[in-house]
Amino acid sequence: MMVDWRLYEPLINFARKRSMWIVAFCTGCGGIEMPPLMTSRYDLERFGMMPNPAPRMADLFLITGYVTPKTLKRIIITYEMQPDPKYVLAHGSCPLNGGIYWDGYNAIKHLDKYIPVDVAIAGCMPRPEAVMDGIKKMMELIETGKADGWKRYKENYEYYKKNQDELFGEGWREKTARRWIPWLMNKKKEGDRQ
Protein backbone atom coordinates (compact mmCIF):
# COMPACT_ATOMS: atom_id res chain seq x y z
CA MET A 1 0.00 0.00 0.00
CA MET A 2 1.75 3.09 1.18
CA VAL A 3 4.88 1.29 2.28
CA ASP A 4 7.58 0.41 -0.21
CA TRP A 5 7.94 -3.29 0.38
CA ARG A 6 11.03 -3.62 -1.76
CA LEU A 7 13.07 -2.16 1.09
CA TYR A 8 12.19 -5.20 3.14
CA GLU A 9 13.05 -7.78 0.46
CA PRO A 10 16.06 -9.23 2.32
CA LEU A 11 14.01 -9.78 5.50
CA ILE A 12 11.07 -11.23 3.54
CA ASN A 13 13.32 -13.55 1.57
CA PHE A 14 14.98 -14.70 4.77
CA ALA A 15 11.55 -15.43 6.24
CA ARG A 16 10.49 -17.28 3.08
CA LYS A 17 13.58 -19.44 2.97
CA ARG A 18 13.50 -20.30 6.65
CA SER A 19 9.86 -21.26 6.96
CA MET A 20 8.83 -23.29 3.97
CA TRP A 21 5.76 -25.35 4.59
CA ILE A 22 5.48 -28.57 2.62
CA VAL A 23 2.20 -29.76 1.16
CA ALA A 24 1.58 -33.15 2.71
CA PHE A 25 1.01 -34.86 -0.62
CA CYS A 26 3.31 -37.82 -1.07
CA THR A 27 3.15 -39.25 -4.57
CA GLY A 28 4.68 -42.48 -5.67
CA CYS A 29 7.34 -44.51 -3.95
CA GLY A 30 9.33 -41.57 -2.75
CA GLY A 31 6.88 -40.87 0.02
CA ILE A 32 8.82 -43.32 2.15
CA GLU A 33 11.76 -40.92 2.22
CA MET A 34 9.77 -38.24 3.99
CA PRO A 35 9.59 -39.71 7.51
CA PRO A 36 13.38 -40.09 7.90
CA LEU A 37 13.75 -36.45 6.97
CA MET A 38 11.23 -35.23 9.49
CA THR A 39 12.25 -37.38 12.45
CA SER A 40 15.13 -37.11 14.85
CA ARG A 41 18.04 -38.09 12.66
CA TYR A 42 17.89 -35.62 9.81
CA ASP A 43 15.63 -33.17 11.53
CA LEU A 44 14.06 -30.93 8.90
CA GLU A 45 12.17 -28.83 11.36
CA ARG A 46 15.29 -26.94 12.38
CA PHE A 47 15.02 -25.16 9.04
CA GLY A 48 11.44 -24.31 9.82
CA MET A 49 9.96 -26.75 7.32
CA MET A 50 6.73 -28.37 8.44
CA PRO A 51 4.35 -30.67 6.64
CA ASN A 52 1.00 -29.00 6.25
CA PRO A 53 -2.10 -30.74 5.00
CA ALA A 54 -3.75 -27.72 3.42
CA PRO A 55 -2.32 -26.42 0.15
CA ARG A 56 -3.66 -22.96 0.77
CA MET A 57 -1.02 -22.34 3.40
CA ALA A 58 1.84 -24.33 1.96
CA ASP A 59 4.52 -23.16 -0.44
CA LEU A 60 6.74 -26.11 -1.18
CA PHE A 61 5.45 -29.02 -3.23
CA LEU A 62 7.54 -32.18 -3.16
CA ILE A 63 7.01 -34.51 -6.08
CA THR A 64 8.56 -37.66 -4.69
CA GLY A 65 8.62 -40.35 -7.29
CA TYR A 66 6.76 -41.26 -10.45
CA VAL A 67 3.67 -39.48 -11.66
CA THR A 68 0.75 -41.10 -13.47
CA PRO A 69 -1.90 -39.07 -15.33
CA LYS A 70 -4.45 -39.74 -12.58
CA THR A 71 -2.08 -38.30 -9.97
CA LEU A 72 -1.01 -35.49 -12.27
CA LYS A 73 -4.58 -34.16 -12.42
CA ARG A 74 -4.69 -33.92 -8.64
CA ILE A 75 -1.20 -32.43 -8.54
CA ILE A 76 -2.17 -29.71 -10.99
CA ILE A 77 -5.37 -28.90 -9.09
CA THR A 78 -3.47 -28.74 -5.78
CA TYR A 79 -0.62 -26.72 -7.28
CA GLU A 80 -3.03 -24.11 -8.58
CA MET A 81 -4.59 -23.79 -5.16
CA GLN A 82 -1.35 -22.68 -3.56
CA PRO A 83 -0.74 -18.97 -3.16
CA ASP A 84 2.26 -17.38 -4.85
CA PRO A 85 5.22 -17.61 -4.38
CA LYS A 86 5.36 -21.40 -4.58
CA TYR A 87 8.18 -23.81 -5.31
CA VAL A 88 8.33 -27.35 -6.65
CA LEU A 89 11.06 -29.81 -5.75
CA ALA A 90 11.29 -32.97 -7.84
CA HIS A 91 12.82 -36.02 -6.16
CA GLY A 92 14.15 -38.93 -8.02
CA SER A 93 14.77 -39.65 -11.64
CA CYS A 94 11.17 -40.33 -12.61
CA PRO A 95 10.05 -36.69 -12.85
CA LEU A 96 13.26 -35.85 -14.72
CA ASN A 97 13.13 -38.32 -17.57
CA GLY A 98 10.91 -41.21 -16.62
CA GLY A 99 13.43 -43.07 -14.45
CA ILE A 100 12.93 -46.83 -14.40
CA TYR A 101 9.54 -46.40 -16.05
CA TRP A 102 11.06 -44.83 -19.16
CA ASP A 103 9.10 -47.23 -21.39
CA GLY A 104 5.87 -47.35 -19.42
CA TYR A 105 2.66 -46.30 -21.14
CA ASN A 106 1.20 -44.50 -18.17
CA ALA A 107 4.06 -42.70 -16.46
CA ILE A 108 4.78 -39.07 -17.21
CA LYS A 109 8.25 -38.72 -18.66
CA HIS A 110 8.89 -34.98 -18.50
CA LEU A 111 7.13 -33.36 -15.60
CA ASP A 112 8.48 -29.96 -16.53
CA LYS A 113 6.04 -29.74 -19.43
CA TYR A 114 3.04 -29.72 -17.12
CA ILE A 115 4.09 -27.85 -14.00
CA PRO A 116 7.26 -25.81 -13.51
CA VAL A 117 10.01 -27.46 -11.46
CA ASP A 118 12.56 -25.38 -9.57
CA VAL A 119 15.07 -27.88 -8.22
CA ALA A 120 15.48 -31.50 -9.27
CA ILE A 121 17.30 -34.12 -7.24
CA ALA A 122 18.53 -37.15 -9.11
CA GLY A 123 18.68 -40.68 -7.71
CA CYS A 124 16.36 -43.66 -7.51
CA MET A 125 15.30 -42.58 -4.30
CA PRO A 126 17.84 -40.00 -3.21
CA ARG A 127 19.11 -40.48 0.34
CA PRO A 128 18.19 -37.89 2.95
CA GLU A 129 21.58 -36.26 2.64
CA ALA A 130 20.97 -35.71 -1.05
CA VAL A 131 17.57 -34.23 -0.30
CA MET A 132 19.10 -31.86 2.21
CA ASP A 133 21.54 -30.79 -0.44
CA GLY A 134 18.67 -30.07 -2.79
CA ILE A 135 16.87 -28.10 -0.10
CA LYS A 136 20.00 -26.07 0.52
CA LYS A 137 20.09 -25.21 -3.18
CA MET A 138 16.40 -24.26 -3.01
CA MET A 139 17.09 -21.93 -0.09
CA GLU A 140 19.92 -20.31 -2.06
CA LEU A 141 17.62 -19.76 -5.03
CA ILE A 142 14.99 -18.16 -2.81
CA GLU A 143 17.51 -15.91 -1.16
CA THR A 144 18.80 -14.56 -4.44
CA GLY A 145 15.29 -14.26 -5.79
CA LYS A 146 15.79 -16.76 -8.60
CA ALA A 147 13.17 -19.31 -7.52
CA ASP A 148 10.64 -18.19 -10.09
CA GLY A 149 8.75 -21.33 -11.05
CA TRP A 150 5.53 -19.60 -10.16
CA LYS A 151 6.32 -16.65 -12.36
CA ARG A 152 7.05 -19.01 -15.25
CA TYR A 153 3.72 -20.73 -14.67
CA LYS A 154 1.80 -17.48 -14.70
CA GLU A 155 3.56 -16.04 -17.73
CA ASN A 156 3.61 -19.17 -19.85
CA TYR A 157 0.24 -20.44 -18.78
CA GLU A 158 -0.87 -21.18 -22.35
CA TYR A 159 2.12 -23.45 -22.91
CA TYR A 160 1.38 -25.46 -19.76
CA LYS A 161 -2.33 -25.53 -20.45
CA LYS A 162 -1.74 -26.76 -23.98
CA ASN A 163 0.37 -29.64 -22.70
CA GLN A 164 -2.15 -30.52 -20.00
CA ASP A 165 -5.06 -30.48 -22.43
CA GLU A 166 -3.14 -32.61 -24.92
CA LEU A 167 -2.64 -35.24 -22.27
CA PHE A 168 -6.08 -35.25 -20.64
CA GLY A 169 -8.42 -33.80 -23.21
CA GLU A 170 -10.23 -30.49 -23.11
CA GLY A 171 -12.40 -29.69 -20.11
CA TRP A 172 -10.79 -32.44 -18.10
CA ARG A 173 -11.73 -31.00 -14.73
CA GLU A 174 -15.47 -31.20 -15.22
CA LYS A 175 -15.22 -34.60 -16.86
CA THR A 176 -13.18 -35.99 -13.98
CA ALA A 177 -15.52 -34.45 -11.45
CA ARG A 178 -18.54 -35.99 -13.11
CA ARG A 179 -16.91 -39.35 -13.39
CA TRP A 180 -16.68 -39.91 -9.68
CA ILE A 181 -19.99 -38.26 -8.90
CA PRO A 182 -22.29 -41.00 -10.29
CA TRP A 183 -20.44 -43.50 -8.15
CA LEU A 184 -21.05 -41.31 -5.11
CA MET A 185 -24.64 -40.62 -6.08
CA ASN A 186 -25.33 -44.36 -6.40
CA LYS A 187 -23.89 -44.91 -2.97
CA LYS A 188 -26.07 -42.10 -1.66
CA LYS A 189 -29.17 -43.62 -3.22
CA GLU A 190 -28.42 -46.96 -1.64
CA GLY A 191 -27.91 -45.24 1.70
CA ASP A 192 -31.23 -43.42 1.38
CA ARG A 193 -33.10 -46.53 0.45
CA GLN A 194 -31.87 -48.24 3.60
Binding site: W5, L11, I12, F14, A15, R16, R18, S19, W21, A24, T39, S40, D43, E45, R46, F47, G48, N52, P53, A54, P55, R56, M57, D59, Q82, P83, D84, P85
Partner: protein, 309 residues
Protein backbone atom coordinates in the same frame (compact mmCIF):
# COMPACT_ATOMS: atom_id res chain seq x y z
CA UNK B 1 -6.87 9.62 26.65
CA UNK B 2 -3.52 9.65 24.92
CA UNK B 3 -2.02 7.89 27.91
CA UNK B 4 -4.63 5.13 27.76
CA UNK B 5 -4.11 4.69 24.05
CA UNK B 6 -0.35 4.50 24.52
CA UNK B 7 -0.72 1.94 27.31
CA UNK B 8 -3.06 -0.15 25.18
CA UNK B 9 -0.69 -0.07 22.24
CA UNK B 10 2.29 -1.06 24.39
CA UNK B 11 0.33 -3.93 25.96
CA UNK B 12 -0.70 -5.10 22.51
CA UNK B 13 2.82 -5.10 21.11
CA UNK B 14 4.16 -6.80 24.21
CA UNK B 15 1.44 -9.44 24.06
CA UNK B 16 2.02 -10.16 20.39
CA UNK B 17 5.77 -10.48 20.80
CA UNK B 18 5.58 -12.68 23.89
CA UNK B 19 2.79 -14.72 22.29
CA UNK B 20 5.02 -15.53 19.36
CA UNK B 21 7.80 -16.49 21.76
CA UNK B 22 5.34 -18.83 23.47
CA UNK B 23 4.45 -20.50 20.19
CA UNK B 24 8.18 -20.92 19.53
CA UNK B 25 8.71 -22.35 23.02
CA UNK B 26 6.00 -24.93 22.38
CA UNK B 27 7.66 -26.03 19.17
CA UNK B 28 11.19 -26.21 20.51
CA UNK B 29 10.20 -27.97 23.75
CA UNK B 30 8.23 -30.56 21.77
CA UNK B 31 11.22 -31.06 19.49
CA UNK B 32 13.60 -31.53 22.41
CA UNK B 33 11.22 -34.08 23.94
CA UNK B 34 11.43 -35.94 20.63
CA UNK B 35 15.24 -35.71 20.84
CA UNK B 36 15.42 -33.44 17.82
CA UNK B 37 17.06 -30.06 17.49
CA UNK B 38 13.95 -28.07 16.71
CA UNK B 39 13.40 -24.69 15.07
CA UNK B 40 14.77 -21.48 16.58
CA UNK B 41 12.61 -19.80 19.12
CA UNK B 42 11.63 -16.93 16.82
CA UNK B 43 10.30 -19.29 14.16
CA UNK B 44 6.62 -18.22 14.39
CA UNK B 45 7.59 -14.64 13.56
CA UNK B 46 9.24 -15.87 10.38
CA UNK B 47 6.15 -17.93 9.58
CA UNK B 48 3.89 -14.92 10.00
CA UNK B 49 6.09 -12.68 7.87
CA UNK B 50 6.12 -15.31 5.16
CA UNK B 51 2.37 -15.69 5.26
CA UNK B 52 1.64 -11.99 5.25
CA UNK B 53 3.94 -11.42 2.30
CA UNK B 54 2.26 -13.83 -0.07
CA UNK B 55 1.69 -12.20 -3.40
CA UNK B 56 -1.76 -13.57 -4.16
CA UNK B 57 -4.64 -14.27 -1.83
CA UNK B 58 -8.06 -15.70 -2.36
CA UNK B 59 -11.37 -15.03 -0.73
CA UNK B 60 -14.67 -16.82 -0.60
CA UNK B 61 -16.86 -13.84 0.09
CA UNK B 62 -17.37 -11.07 2.59
CA UNK B 63 -17.97 -13.24 5.64
CA UNK B 64 -14.73 -15.11 4.96
CA UNK B 65 -12.70 -11.92 5.32
CA UNK B 66 -14.79 -10.41 8.02
CA UNK B 67 -14.77 -13.50 10.24
CA UNK B 68 -10.98 -13.50 10.41
CA UNK B 69 -10.75 -9.79 11.14
CA UNK B 70 -13.47 -10.12 13.77
CA UNK B 71 -11.57 -12.98 15.44
CA UNK B 72 -8.45 -10.87 15.81
CA UNK B 73 -10.46 -7.86 16.98
CA UNK B 74 -12.24 -9.91 19.64
CA UNK B 75 -8.95 -11.31 20.92
CA UNK B 76 -7.50 -7.82 21.23
CA UNK B 77 -10.66 -6.82 23.08
CA UNK B 78 -10.28 -9.73 25.49
CA UNK B 79 -6.68 -8.77 26.14
CA UNK B 80 -7.62 -5.30 27.27
CA UNK B 81 -9.70 -6.56 30.16
CA UNK B 82 -7.15 -8.79 31.86
CA UNK B 83 -5.04 -7.03 34.46
CA UNK B 84 -1.30 -7.28 33.79
CA UNK B 85 0.40 -6.66 37.10
CA UNK B 86 -0.94 -3.33 38.22
CA UNK B 87 -1.58 -1.85 34.80
CA UNK B 88 -4.51 -2.77 32.69
CA UNK B 89 -6.54 -0.62 30.42
CA UNK B 90 -10.04 -1.73 31.35
CA UNK B 91 -9.33 -3.70 34.45
CA UNK B 92 -12.13 -2.10 36.42
CA UNK B 93 -14.61 -3.90 34.20
CA UNK B 94 -12.72 -7.14 33.87
CA UNK B 95 -15.36 -9.54 35.00
CA UNK B 96 -14.66 -13.28 35.25
CA UNK B 97 -17.67 -14.22 33.17
CA UNK B 98 -17.01 -11.49 30.62
CA UNK B 99 -13.41 -12.55 30.02
CA UNK B 100 -14.39 -16.20 29.72
CA UNK B 101 -17.00 -15.38 27.10
CA UNK B 102 -14.65 -13.03 25.26
CA UNK B 103 -11.97 -15.73 25.06
CA UNK B 104 -14.42 -18.02 23.27
CA UNK B 105 -15.70 -15.56 20.71
CA UNK B 106 -12.71 -15.68 18.32
CA UNK B 107 -13.45 -19.32 17.70
CA UNK B 108 -16.96 -18.36 16.58
CA UNK B 109 -15.53 -15.83 14.14
CA UNK B 110 -13.08 -18.36 12.72
CA UNK B 111 -15.82 -20.92 12.32
CA UNK B 112 -18.04 -18.47 10.48
CA UNK B 113 -15.22 -17.63 8.12
CA UNK B 114 -14.30 -21.28 7.62
CA UNK B 115 -17.86 -22.39 6.98
CA UNK B 116 -18.47 -19.77 4.37
CA UNK B 117 -15.99 -21.50 2.11
CA UNK B 118 -18.30 -24.46 1.67
CA UNK B 119 -15.63 -27.05 2.35
CA UNK B 120 -16.87 -30.20 4.11
CA UNK B 121 -13.61 -30.52 6.02
CA UNK B 122 -14.31 -27.11 7.47
CA UNK B 123 -17.82 -28.27 8.34
CA UNK B 124 -16.60 -31.32 10.19
CA UNK B 125 -13.92 -29.26 11.87
CA UNK B 126 -16.53 -26.72 12.98
CA UNK B 127 -18.73 -29.49 14.34
CA UNK B 128 -15.87 -30.99 16.35
CA UNK B 129 -14.71 -27.62 17.61
CA UNK B 130 -18.24 -26.84 18.78
CA UNK B 131 -18.68 -30.15 20.53
CA UNK B 132 -15.32 -29.73 22.23
CA UNK B 133 -16.35 -26.29 23.36
CA UNK B 134 -19.64 -27.69 24.62
CA UNK B 135 -17.78 -30.36 26.50
CA UNK B 136 -15.43 -27.93 28.24
CA UNK B 137 -18.17 -25.56 29.34
CA UNK B 138 -19.32 -27.70 32.21
CA UNK B 139 -16.03 -27.90 34.17
CA UNK B 140 -15.24 -24.34 33.16
CA UNK B 141 -18.54 -23.11 34.53
CA UNK B 142 -18.05 -24.89 37.81
CA UNK B 143 -14.49 -23.58 38.15
CA UNK B 144 -15.63 -19.99 37.61
CA UNK B 145 -18.45 -20.53 40.08
CA UNK B 146 -15.99 -21.87 42.66
CA UNK B 147 -13.79 -18.80 42.25
CA UNK B 148 -16.65 -16.34 42.50
CA UNK B 149 -18.13 -17.98 45.56
CA UNK B 150 -14.80 -18.21 47.36
CA UNK B 151 -13.81 -14.60 46.88
CA UNK B 152 -17.29 -13.15 46.85
CA UNK B 153 -16.54 -10.92 43.90
CA UNK B 154 -16.45 -11.29 40.14
CA UNK B 155 -13.82 -8.71 39.32
CA UNK B 156 -10.51 -10.21 38.25
CA UNK B 157 -8.56 -7.27 39.59
CA UNK B 158 -10.01 -7.69 43.05
CA UNK B 159 -9.21 -11.38 42.99
CA UNK B 160 -5.61 -10.54 42.17
CA UNK B 161 -5.48 -8.02 44.99
CA UNK B 162 -7.03 -10.49 47.44
CA UNK B 163 -4.37 -13.02 46.58
CA UNK B 164 -1.60 -10.63 47.56
CA UNK B 165 -2.79 -10.88 51.15
CA UNK B 166 -4.32 -14.33 51.26
CA UNK B 167 -1.68 -16.13 49.28
CA UNK B 168 -2.06 -17.92 45.96
CA UNK B 169 -5.46 -19.37 45.14
CA UNK B 170 -4.25 -22.90 44.83
CA UNK B 171 -3.33 -23.28 48.46
CA UNK B 172 -7.03 -23.40 49.35
CA UNK B 173 -8.52 -26.82 48.68
CA UNK B 174 -11.69 -25.87 46.71
CA UNK B 175 -9.68 -23.63 44.45
CA UNK B 176 -7.00 -26.28 44.00
CA UNK B 177 -9.69 -28.58 42.61
CA UNK B 178 -10.98 -25.79 40.41
CA UNK B 179 -7.44 -25.11 39.17
CA UNK B 180 -6.92 -28.75 38.20
CA UNK B 181 -10.16 -28.76 36.25
CA UNK B 182 -9.33 -25.45 34.58
CA UNK B 183 -5.89 -26.72 33.59
CA UNK B 184 -7.48 -29.66 31.81
CA UNK B 185 -9.81 -27.24 30.08
CA UNK B 186 -6.83 -25.15 28.98
CA UNK B 187 -5.55 -28.10 26.96
CA UNK B 188 -8.61 -27.92 24.77
CA UNK B 189 -8.55 -24.15 24.57
CA UNK B 190 -4.97 -24.17 23.32
CA UNK B 191 -5.81 -26.86 20.81
CA UNK B 192 -3.11 -29.27 21.98
CA UNK B 193 -3.16 -33.04 22.27
CA UNK B 194 -5.05 -34.95 23.55
CA UNK B 195 -7.85 -32.56 22.67
CA UNK B 196 -6.76 -31.16 19.34
CA UNK B 197 -9.59 -32.93 17.56
CA UNK B 198 -10.73 -29.62 16.17
CA UNK B 199 -7.52 -29.03 14.32
CA UNK B 200 -6.67 -32.68 13.65
CA UNK B 201 -3.92 -32.19 11.14
CA UNK B 202 -3.79 -34.96 8.62
CA UNK B 203 -7.16 -36.35 9.50
CA UNK B 204 -9.36 -33.59 8.18
CA UNK B 205 -6.73 -31.30 6.74
CA UNK B 206 -6.59 -28.96 9.67
CA UNK B 207 -10.35 -28.71 10.06
CA UNK B 208 -11.54 -25.14 9.96
CA UNK B 209 -8.20 -23.83 8.73
CA UNK B 210 -8.24 -25.77 5.50
CA UNK B 211 -9.22 -22.88 3.27
CA UNK B 212 -7.17 -20.17 4.94
CA UNK B 213 -3.99 -19.10 3.29
CA UNK B 214 -1.76 -16.12 2.82
CA UNK B 215 -2.67 -13.10 4.82
CA UNK B 216 -5.75 -14.68 6.41
CA UNK B 217 -3.54 -17.34 7.92
CA UNK B 218 -1.06 -14.67 8.96
CA UNK B 219 -3.80 -12.83 10.83
CA UNK B 220 -4.85 -16.12 12.43
CA UNK B 221 -1.28 -16.75 13.61
CA UNK B 222 -1.24 -13.34 15.27
CA UNK B 223 -4.59 -14.18 16.83
CA UNK B 224 -3.26 -17.48 18.14
CA UNK B 225 -0.27 -15.74 19.67
CA UNK B 226 -2.36 -13.13 21.47
CA UNK B 227 -4.87 -15.79 22.55
CA UNK B 228 -2.08 -17.94 24.04
CA UNK B 229 -0.81 -14.94 25.96
CA UNK B 230 -4.26 -13.93 27.16
CA UNK B 231 -5.27 -17.40 28.31
CA UNK B 232 -2.07 -18.10 30.23
CA UNK B 233 -2.22 -14.61 31.73
CA UNK B 234 -5.79 -15.19 32.88
CA UNK B 235 -4.86 -18.48 34.53
CA UNK B 236 -1.82 -16.93 36.18
CA UNK B 237 -3.93 -14.08 37.49
CA UNK B 238 -6.76 -16.02 38.98
CA UNK B 239 -5.01 -19.11 40.26
CA UNK B 240 -1.35 -18.32 40.63
CA UNK B 241 -1.58 -14.97 42.30
CA UNK B 242 -0.87 -12.47 39.53
CA UNK B 243 1.94 -10.10 40.27
CA UNK B 244 1.62 -6.73 41.92
CA UNK B 245 5.06 -5.53 42.90
CA UNK B 246 5.40 -2.43 44.99
CA UNK B 247 8.92 -2.92 46.26
CA UNK B 248 10.61 -0.38 44.04
CA UNK B 249 9.98 3.30 44.14
CA UNK B 250 9.80 4.05 40.45
CA UNK B 251 6.69 2.74 38.68
CA UNK B 252 8.65 1.65 35.62
CA UNK B 253 10.80 -0.75 37.62
CA UNK B 254 7.67 -2.01 39.37
CA UNK B 255 6.03 -2.69 36.05
CA UNK B 256 9.05 -4.50 34.68
CA UNK B 257 9.35 -6.62 37.81
CA UNK B 258 5.69 -7.61 37.76
CA UNK B 259 5.84 -8.39 34.04
CA UNK B 260 8.86 -10.62 34.67
CA UNK B 261 7.11 -12.51 37.48
CA UNK B 262 4.02 -12.96 35.33
CA UNK B 263 6.19 -14.22 32.49
CA UNK B 264 7.66 -16.91 34.72
CA UNK B 265 4.20 -18.03 35.83
CA UNK B 266 2.85 -18.03 32.30
CA UNK B 267 5.75 -20.09 31.01
CA UNK B 268 5.12 -22.58 33.82
CA UNK B 269 1.50 -23.00 32.70
CA UNK B 270 2.62 -23.30 29.09
CA UNK B 271 5.22 -25.94 29.87
CA UNK B 272 2.71 -28.08 31.74
CA UNK B 273 0.43 -27.91 28.71
CA UNK B 274 3.30 -28.70 26.32
CA UNK B 275 4.46 -31.72 28.29
CA UNK B 276 0.95 -33.12 28.36
CA UNK B 277 0.57 -32.43 24.68
CA UNK B 278 3.81 -34.14 23.69
CA UNK B 279 2.94 -37.38 25.42
CA UNK B 280 -0.68 -38.10 24.55
CA UNK B 281 -2.28 -39.11 21.29
CA UNK B 282 -5.55 -37.66 20.16
CA UNK B 283 -8.96 -38.43 21.63
CA UNK B 284 -11.89 -38.84 19.28
CA UNK B 285 -14.69 -36.40 19.79
CA UNK B 286 -17.06 -38.63 21.74
CA UNK B 287 -14.20 -39.84 23.93
CA UNK B 288 -13.25 -36.23 24.59
CA UNK B 289 -16.84 -35.26 25.42
CA UNK B 290 -17.32 -38.23 27.74
CA UNK B 291 -14.01 -37.51 29.45
CA UNK B 292 -14.85 -33.88 30.07
CA UNK B 293 -18.29 -34.67 31.37
CA UNK B 294 -16.92 -37.21 33.84
CA UNK B 295 -13.76 -36.44 35.79
CA UNK B 296 -13.12 -32.70 35.33
CA UNK B 297 -16.81 -32.04 35.94
CA UNK B 298 -16.79 -34.03 39.15
CA UNK B 299 -13.62 -32.34 40.38
CA UNK B 300 -14.84 -28.86 39.50
CA UNK B 301 -18.32 -29.46 40.92
CA UNK B 302 -16.74 -30.68 44.15
CA UNK B 303 -14.64 -27.53 44.25
CA UNK B 304 -17.68 -25.34 43.65
CA UNK B 305 -19.76 -27.01 46.34
CA UNK B 306 -16.87 -26.84 48.83
CA UNK B 307 -16.31 -23.18 48.03
CA UNK B 308 -19.91 -22.28 48.63
CA UNK B 309 -20.12 -23.81 52.06
Amino acid sequence: MIETALKALLILIYATFVGFMFMGIIRIVTARIHRRVGPPIYQPILDTIKLLSKKSNITHGLIYDFGVIYALGATILALMFIPIGSIGVLRAYGDLVLITFLLEIPMLGIMFAAMSSGNPYAGIGAQRALLTMLAIQVPLGFAIVALAEFYGTFSTYEIVMAQQTMGWSIIHLPLLLAAIAYDLVLQAMFGKEPFDIMIAPGEISLGPMVEFGGKHMGILQIQHAIALFAETLFFANIFLGGAVVTAFSSPILNTIASLAILLVKQIAVLLVATFMGAIFPRFTIDQAAKFYWKWPTIIAALGAILASL
